[in-house]
Symmetry: D2
Subunit: 332 residues, 4 copies
């Protein structure tokens, strides 16, 4: 693909407490950044702040011709409506049209996990892959799926809620009100809860984790810290995390057969090396059809915190490119 | 879509013991059929028989301009290579090219579950849906997924092996060598095994099922027969079948968010009314995000045994049409 | 057994906030009661209050010649040492000797669940049974086992912690720090947690339960109230409670083969009729060896809140009687 | 206990294909053996063979004054009736009286697992323990429990069917017709089935096990052989065996709180060192109340194949001794 810097778009990543935006070129490079603080309780302020970041960036790069916005929540299939946002009071909110009116450029909305995944697919670990699953290990377990060169958004904008696959029947309660969700076994919250429970069951064994917590409530980082010092209990908890991660990846592979599984998010960044070996093992142990099928690579993400900006920006370019690609395919 | 009967293709469905083929128009109507018996132990005979059915049909409808072939197994992403077939000795076999050479028309290969699903999507229960999951309840549990208007085939042609999602950790052995696969809880084989086991655990309670079996080994049909007569144990086994069906559908919905779940296959045909109510209930009981998301319909399939022919025939027309659609989308 | 009222003992039941004591005759009848409030944070006050109730009762019935005391916790096999109490700061505490010194009569200590079970065994639902399991459904799930005419106390005084049998591998967290304990599926706390979670998962379906709660946090009683009004979700939650109750009873039956399972405690009292039918069904569905073995009755308890007093009082009489019985057995 | 060799009894162990008998003294020493082949299809022949072994031994040791007989099955609480035998056509069969008539000495019948456990309790690993659980790992998983110095036989002679505790809800089918029984996860049969399934799922990984099987169907011994050579898959299967063994032991400990868990049977003899370390770990990981309670030792059995003879012989002496003990207890 021979592109020049004339093909610039802006990506905006709406987080819990701040907005990060960037001008992105056709190679996924960020040429300039802009930031604003946000108040999740004031949806209109957020819209204003998004517009400001775009204005700021356009003053530097006037040739920007489209904007992609990444936010947590369910996005309509038109990619302009925010059906539901978990942290902001958006319900069936025409965010795209409002921003288009304010900014004067085409705006597409993308789920934040989808945006990050799309960035990895186009410019990171998924480059060249036919299909890809992205898992984001943070407080929860988010995800995104790309198949046939497109994000799977679902009929109601609710696809790839991967953390809510049921992994253990009648298992741990999940914040969503269900039981046994994947995210109740493989997420930062799950790791912390498990460690706290084990500290009750076996306080002596949990000495190293408790020491890492230093009197505070145990969180995932304390488990990781203890494991880095060789503590067997902490290591076991992360191995179990990996075990359940792999079990779910095997199920996902039965469904979408990806070429690569990219594991991102804060926990992958700080503890990927402690979790992924057991994830890969349990993935293979649970994979149906071994030997008769290709096996996806399971790797950590490349693009870090910028993935949302890059993916959103690239999303704003998708429609035209996708059409191109299909035509090429049809012509073959 | 303004089509005329000039747009005809042939669909060929390669089954375990016979080949069924048909000329299909752009509305999914079969205009003529042709059949051949086959020997699964003689791959070359099968190729000859496929060619014969096409020749027979073209003698009636000379304007046929493409052929789609449905067969069980993993199909390469080029849709001409049979990577692996469970019942025929095809391993990385260039079935499409061989048939193209023999027949003199473009030939595409499609996995049989994919072909049936495509038929439902285009002309049956999935008509008008954005995305769709198809489940085929027979001896095993097969499936197919359509998202963004396309079948999800996967990077290695092994997507939608839905029966091998893990539903119960360390649960029932599956024929694939894994434990706890969905198909080990929701398939004809699973139902029969469960009924046989229950007949050991509680021979008195299982009188009606044993009577239906009449001294033969219990199979799924005996359970259905006893349930139709109001037997509580048999009814309970089918309710449990439905329960596990619904659990898996909830997980699939978290992954692909379909507008409709079409349940086909022999068991859906004869016992769908006994299984689907409990499947719908357990689906809702296990669905994450209720109230914040649309909910797919769960319905039985429309097209029966002809679905493979219709879907394969329509597959042969896909590339051009998909390009059309994307261009329309981009133009909006 | 020909006894006269001369054979009187006192039973004392140390609860969370009060002490209840009674003079009990050889037929398990309580002839007089005495009560004291207690402060669980002041162990010495509790000992004084126990002595006071005994003194008060002996002033009415001077022929009392032994005292049995029931308290929550692990009791040593000598039945005088409190190894561990969950709510009072007793650790390896010689409670029996201390009380004997103060009172001037022989004192035996009994775990409270054991005492209640012993009462049912001797004078309630277990009368005449060879062996018996008692389950106490309250905040938690407690229990006791009588086999060969004796309570099973265990080598460390920790037997019959039935609520901590593992029922679901990697299942719900239990207050004990383990996962999947029986009490995490079949207890008042478990019922409340499940109902709260379901109210998140399906707020519409949970209307009746939420209405019963009237804005307060949901507790088990709200579920029972909604079920009494025919609410299907609440009914389903109690059916599931029963299901897991039955599963655990089947496992216990494999272990101790009781003639009767007595279900007591606050939840059995108010919701036994809503829970026990499904418990009986799932018990039978999970019982190994049906048809080749006797099946225990599963019934609600007879003696209510007095069971602790009666059982403790009778415990003070056991040693002599047990010896009698064995001699009779040997003589047969 | 001051005994002399005048206190001799005979123990008879009725196995699948042979009868082994012995004269046993009060220290559990076997002074002489006698054997007979048996035909499980001819119950009367078996009774005759038992009588012959006793006659043979009495000709050497005329002072023998009681006989204990161990056999597989449910034994009535009178210890003379065979309620049900799995391999011999005994149903409510007065085996004890028949043998008493033939032999002219008091005869007690004991379940074979109970007899072996009693031997360990009196003269082997359980010596001095207050209470004990015995697990017999063979084709299945059998067991016995001793508490308060007595075997727990149950109200219907069906106690300690430990292999049929439910460990995994809706888990592997068990020969008894139930699902998820302990014996379906921790027995020779379970190990073999799991290994065969894994060999299907991952034939490359299973090379060492398949090589050990040398073309025969995989059995447990092949797994053990491969593990001894360091094969990671085989080692993993035995670790998992141990994991489930430990899970069940934790549940049993919650129920009976034994001082010692004795693991016997053919698999313990040949693979105990490969299984018990992971059993001990998972036992502790699943034990409720750690730190507040004593923990049983988990050890392999001492007495091997003679345990049945020794335990049956000693059973014939129990009634008198038990009475003694209780009197002592009461006197303390």
């Amino acid at each position: 693909m021979d592109t020049n810097t004339a093909e610039l778009t802006v990506g905006v990543d709406i987080g819990g407490t701040k907005i990060a935006a960037g001008v992105v070129d056709a190679h996924g490079q960020i040429l300039a950044h802009a930031y604003r603080a946000t108040d999740p309780h004031d949806p209109r302020q957020i819209e204003g702040a998004v517009a400001e970041t775009v204005d700021e960036l356009r003053s530097q790069y006037p040739q920007v011709d489209a904007v992609g916005v990444a936010a947590a929540g369910f996005v309509g299939s038109d990619r302009t409506t925010m059906l539901f946002a978990p942290n902001i009071a958006w319900r069936n909110h025409p965010l795209g049209s409002i921003l288009t009116d304010r900014i004067g450029l085409p705006v597409v909305i993308e789920n934040d996990a989808n945006a990050a995944a799309w960035a990895e697919y186009r410019f990171g670990q998924g480059r060249g892959a036919d299909s890809m699953v992205m898992l984001t290990l943070g407080t929860g377990l988010g995800g995104a799926i790309i198949s046939n060169g497109q994000l799977i958004r679902g009929s109601f904008g609710a696809a790839a809620e991967l953390g809510h696959m049921t992994i253990v029947p009648d298992g741990h309660f999940c914040g969503c009100g269900q039981e046994g969700c994947w995210e109740a076994y493989a997420s930062g919250t799950a790791l912390a809860k498990l460690a706290r429970s084990v500290a009750v069951a076996d306080p002596d064994g949990a000495q190293a984790i408790l020491a890492a917590a230093g009197g505070d409530q145990i969180v995932g980082a304390h488990v990781t810290a203890a494991a880095r010092q060789g503590d067997p209990l902490a290591t076991g908890l992360l191995t179990r995390f990996g075990h359940y991660l792999g079990v779910g990846i095997a199920t996902l592979t039965a469904v979408v057969d990806p070429a690569v599984v990219v594991v991102g998010g804060g926990i992958a960044a700080v503890a990927g090396d402690l979790i992924l070996p057991s994830a890969r093992k349990s993935f293979l142990d649970n994979l149906s059809g071994r030997g008769f099928r290709g096996e996806p690579r399971i790797v950590t993400a490349d693009l870090g915190n910028d993935a949302g900006i890059i993916g959103a920006a690239d999303s704003a370019r998708i429609p035209a490119r996708a059409a191109e690609r299909v035509l090429e395919g049809a012509a073959r």
